[in-house]
Assembly symmetry: C2
Homo-oligomer: 98 residues x 2
Amino acid sequence: MVDVGDVFKALADPTRRHILDELAERDDQTLFEICTRLGTKHQFTSSRQAVSQHLELLEAAGLVRTRREGRYKFHTLDTTPLAQIAERWVRTRPQENP
Amino acid sequence: MVDVGDVFKALADPTRRHILDELAERDDQTLFEICTRLGTKHQFTSSRQAVSQHLELLEAAGLVRTRREGRYKFHTLDTTPLAQIAERWVRTRPQENP
DNA sequence: TTGATAGGCAAGCAGTTACTTGCCTATAGT
DNA sequence: ACTATAGGCAAGTAACTGCTTGCCTATCAA
């Protein structure tokens, strides 16, 4: 079970949301792929290190999973934390309180 | 339409989540009520100004609505921003991308 | 009118965050 | 072996955050 605060913090940054958008469009991307596609497709220029640090944070929040293959590191979107947040913060809140 | 970033930022802080919890349990509370109940029921002591500033931020994010009545200001939970972020970030993400 | 209660305003401060800069390691191609 | 590529590490910095402190305004009860 991930920390809800970490997930919300991760989602609070626009660059990180763009990264998640990008990974939602195309999974299994390397750091450099994400960087270039953020610039070309999302008009959002960020340095390699900036994106790298964002990916670290996203991984810590459980939103991104990584897989090493040679000198490449592939990044994959993991939506289970989002589902957990929805469970706690969206579905239950309007009608009932446990 | 509220800013998604503001909502996530608002939800990123544990104190603010406690405040929302408190408002979910009992709606239409004044600042002082929220302060005392945060302490007694949630074991979460925060000063008046701290809570006040959190409420300001929550209101800016659209998660709390206020109503003045004499010298009292009542705070009400508004869940529509949660529904909106669910629409954008939870329901659509796992299967499809628009 | 006086005092108490509910809340607001704004400056200051310590801790955090997003980003840069510079250098280093590791894998792969030639 | 040498060079280019993919990525990591860590210190530094400017901006932001959460909170405190001190004072001020407004409403109500006596």
